[in-house]
Symmetry: C2
Amino acid sequence: MNYEYEGLKLKNQLCFPLYASSRLIVRLYGPVLEPLGLTYTKYIVMLALWEKDNIGLKELGGILFLDSGTLTPLLKKLEIQGLVTRERNLEDERNINIKLTDRGKRLKETAKDIPAKIGSCINMSARDLKELHRLLHIILENNKESQCLGL
Amino acid sequence: MNYEYEGLKLKNQLCFPLYASSRLIVRLYGPVLEPLGLTYTKYIVMLALWEKDNIGLKELGGILFLDSGTLTPLLKKLEIQGLVTRERNLEDERNINIKLTDRGKRLKETAKDIPAKIGSCINMSARDLKELHRLLHIILENNKESQCLGL
DNA sequence: ATTTAATAAATTGAATACAATTAAATTGTA
DNA sequence: TACAATTTAATTGTATTCAATTTATTAAAT
């Protein structure tokens, strides 16, 4: 038997189930977020801002692992929706400060049931959930300043 | 203390680390696949075909959790690259059969070192890797015919 | 003080994802 | 047989992602 190609089998991939389940769960959010006028990416931006308001784009990107190429157009849309404001930092005009509007702050109230709603769709024991959480964070931490990626 | 909004904290999200680490690892593949003329999505299509050649688009989509909207343009590109052929099934012309060309088959040889190359970037014990694998497959299995999603 | 280097955001272009619709082929049924 | 329902790909339109480039601003060095 030739084991030379074992690593190429889908069932032996780590990335594939990661990629597939990520998309699966993001898709789960779609109809739940739609009434709030949010997409999944907009939602995690709002999550970050609800925890820390008045933050620079760079810092926001550091938290969410997203760069200005993704965030700039996204934040402009959130601004048009009246959920955030974007203004240059007066002390250093290279930076931009993102702030929640009152409407953006109030949306938190509407959003607070979403985690439970999504959670009920993921049929997994609390123990497994916690373990999955731990393992994913190992990946994120390992690659935060990876020698493999130039992040 | 008000715990009403605990579920909205990023650190309590399951989806966020799933989403972030998936993107992180897909990005890891970029420079590794580039010399082969493949993107990550093209790569998993090739992985599936190396395991089962001459397969319908629908069946391929079932394996990879992708629909014709994603696969049709992707397969056309792989066809232009000379890695696959697309032909209507003569018995049922609604279906299309995807076959590897000789060149597509030979690419497997070039690709066989990729899993080890990526693996070396993911600093995780064999035990943790296996556990992560198991947990991700729980999510995929649970939602394969979910009551929450209309897949 | 000038010039150079570094940093942050915005822009551009390529490649997905995916919902929704359309078109073609097949199946089931009256 | 006709016709409605179903199935499969393809198409369309919207929303990301991300690498690479550009522009503006600030910091560092001469």
